[in-house]
């Protein structure tokens, strides 16, 4: 199985990753793209997200996820790329591409990859709001407390 994983400061070229996944023995390519989202439900707003990672552990964990996929599904190509630093609303923070002879394994493996990233890969994001920031998952930050 071919695999590619990377952690990058710049924009992720999803199209190039998908082009790499095309192969004659595969009938399915499943792509998952995680993008930054703005929650408009409150008065203050998220302006952008910022990611940091513990490297090289994070790189090793991404490779480990590719290996796990190889062991569980008939995947012929797996690409996992995560972005670091500032990511503006609507931009991709993670791109996962899995090619398989059939669609079932492609769907399942791409889903597995994003769920594992959220469980085991030492990457953290903080939301930068108009009035401070907050670390997602820890709820630690500088935003003013919401009045009761």
């Amino acid at each position: 199985m071919d695999s590619y994983s990377d952690i990058t400061e710049g924009p992720i070229e999803a199209g190039a990753l998908i082009a790499q996944a095309l192969r004659s023995d595969c009938g399915a390519i499943s792509t998952f793209i995680g993008t930054t989202r703005i929650d408009e439900s409150t008065e203050a707003r998220v302006e952008y997200l910022e990611y940091e990672a513990y490297r090289p552990m994070a790189d090793e964990k991404l490779e480990e996820i590719s290996s796990e996929i190889k062991g569980r599904w008939d995947a012929r190509y797996v690409a996992i790329v995560h972005r670091l630093g500032r990511v503006d609303p609507g931009e991709a923070s993670v791109v996962i591409v899995v090619a398989s002879p059939r669609r079932g394994p492609a769907f399942e493996a791409s889903r597995y990859a994003i769920e594992r990233i959220k469980e085991v890969v030492p990457i953290w994001k903080r939301e930068i709001w108009s009035d401070g920031y907050i670390w997602v998952g820890s709820q630690v930050g500088t935003r003013p407390k919401t009045p009761d």
Partner: protein, 82 residues
Amino acid sequence: MSEAKVLLFGAAADRAGTRETVVNVESGATLADLWPLLVERHPGLAPMRDTLAFAVNSQYARMEDSISGGDEVAVLPPVSGG
């Protein structure tokens, strides 16, 4: 006594007020022994205890795992990639 490097990330770095520190560990010390030394120096970490994971030399580790001089210990808040 020997020195272990401790790296802190995300919210833990915020709470500690630093991203890196060095702690003297006795031979045979475990992560559980290291924790109070860290909290003594960076009391802001104390409330995070139950949410944190640890890695030693880039491998997830348990509190009973031992550390030795030259090890790199990482203090990892709940991950939030994706």
